[in-house]
Amino acid sequence: MTTSPLAARPRPAAAAPAPLPSAPRRRRAGFLREQISGWGMIAPAAVLLLLFVFLPAILGFGLAFTNARLISPRPVEFVGTDNFARLFADPTFWRALLNVTYFAVVVVPVQSALALAMALLINKKFRGVNFFRTVYFLPVVTSMVVVSLLWLFMYRKDGLINELLSTFSFGLIQGADWLNDPATAMPAIIALSIWQAAGFHMIIWLAGLQSISGELYEAAQLDGASRWHQFRYVTWPGLKHTRSLVLVTITIQALGLFDQVSVMTQGGPLDSTTTIIYEAVRSGFKQQETSYASAISLVFFVLVLLISAVQRYLTREKD
């Protein structure tokens, strides 16, 4: 930009035969002051994000191509793509990728639909609405670590889940040993993950619902629109932005599955619940292979980027 930014804007004062000399100068001072104050306000957050998000991200990127270990007397050497070659030859990595895909494919639609249902159920004013809102949000307030510990206890062969299943099926369903069976471990983790996180996305949906003008519903009702039609033609289009926000955040959360696995199964049984992040943490912290863990993180990051790009593209196309 060689021209003054102000020159682009049509200013009648400049076109007048005798422009007041002070007016542009005052505007210019205001412009500068706005730039300085603006950047001053952006700076604290920007610097912190730079220090604690961008730098470690770049660092992780660099380490992926070295032989760095967490604690090692040897100097760090560039090893090219060795870590990636090893990673792509590792069946555990592919298993982790498969597990995370399975998790995301179930959790994304089910959790966003349940969260929207919950938001719709408590969107209208009625007696006790605060009670329901609070209860629906309770699992979110409970930390995933506590939740995992609690469900670890409930998923025991002689635990609460099996007792409930047996009671409600009148003894027909014989409970599984949920977390110790490769076939049921991931479904069990999926169930508790949805249970814990649905309330969070309910709040996001709810904020979206509240932002839709009540007048639109009144107009639809005057036109005799059914509840379904109100949802289809008022609520759903009104949730356009919320929708992409919810989808993107749930997908990224799902792909980053870690806490539950770390507390409940440590990736087992037979790698049936291991995840990409769990593998990264396992090699990074337990085996101290910083470089290999960074390579996994990098692959994971590229995956997240790809998926959210595709998702954004798809949601944009539909609207």
Binding site: G38, G60, V140, S143, I277, A280, S294
Partner: protein, 292 residues
């Protein structure tokens, strides 16, 4: 017509109650079990007594927890760390969003896009290089009258706070909210001679209560719940937050009653705080409306 409406709302209420039961039963089970000895927890499991504080009820498990774990210290640490993160987070993120939303700052679109891009980086992928990185940062300590500089943030309070103050999602939420506040208010204030910071503090922020409540909750929860991070960067027992206490129960032959007691102990304060906070949070969203 009227009957079908009534039937509809009865069905809706039934579904609401069903959802509420599913959401609440594990938490009720946890709280109730924390008051029972292990034999009774397993004995009550097959009946509704699993959810009722009946039988041999006591706070023995809690007493045992305080014996096993320095729980009071952990609670104080977590309260302090969360409070500081929330307060600084609200200030710094809203300030940034204010400039990005309401000021004509050159290049702000690029900055906002880049900030939003950080949303895509999950914390777990950063954690490992971040451990190495925070250990390189200088550490200033005022010792009496002399300022001491040492290297490495590991095993401190600030390593649990400062990396989590700036948050792209908080900036995004504030930005969305600020966009809905009429810009004419700023212009009016500017004509009255107000500077930008004054507009931020006295015009925009007082109107952004609901966004602040949301940001406060969404900052507080991960701060209180953080587990992986303190596990890696904090060694000293006196600096540990509450979630690390759970580790003390992984070893030995655990008493599930004690596990449930500690789990309740670190969950109940948050629930209480949330219920007090929730009302204003929901009410402010509902009454003022997020709409533009």
């Amino acid at each position: 017509m009227k009957n079908s409406v009534r039937l509809n709302s009865a069905a809706a209420m039934l579904v609401r109650i069903l959802f509420a039961a599913v959401a609440a039963f594990p938490i009720v089970f946890m709280l109730v079990s924390s008051l029972k000895p292990d034999t009774q927890i397993f004995g009550d499991m097959s009946s509704v007594a699993a959810f009722l504080p009946v039988g041999n009820i006591s706070f023995d498990n809690y007493a045992a927890v305080f014996d096993r774990v320095p729980a009071a210290r952990f609670l104080v640490n977590s309260i302090g760390i969360s409070a500081v993160t929330v307060v600084l987070g609200i200030f710094i993120n809203s300030l940034c969003a204010f400039a990005l939303s309401r000021m004509e700052v050159r290049g702000k679109r690029v900055v906002f896009t880049v900030i939003l891009a950080t949303l895509i980086v999950p914390f777990q992928t950063l954690a490992l290089p971040l451990v190495w990185w925070v250990n390189q940062l200088p550490y200033f300590e005022l010792n009496g009258f002399s300022l001491e500089i040492s290297k490495g943030w590991l095993d401190t309070y600030q390593v649990q706070i400062i990396p989590f103050i700036a948050n792209a999602f908080s900036i995004y939420l504030y930005h969305q909210y600020f966009e809905s506040i009429p810009k004419e208010l700023d212009e009016a204030a500017r004509i009255d001679g107000a500077g930008w910071f004054k507009i931020y503090r006295q015009v925009v922020m007082p109107l952004a209560g609901p966004a602040t409540a949301t940001v406060a909750i969404l900052t507080f929860l991960p701060a209180w719940n953080s587990y992986l991070w303190p596990l890696m960067v904090v060694q000293s027992e006196e600096l540990r937050p509450v979630m690390i206490g759970i580790q003390y129960f992984f070893q030995l032959n655990v008493s599930w009653g004690e596990v449930m007691a500690y789990a309740s102990l670190i969950t109940v304060p948050v629930v209480v705080l949330f219920i007090a906070f929730q009302r204003s949070f929901i009410n402010s969203i509902a009454s003022s409306g997020v709409k533009g």
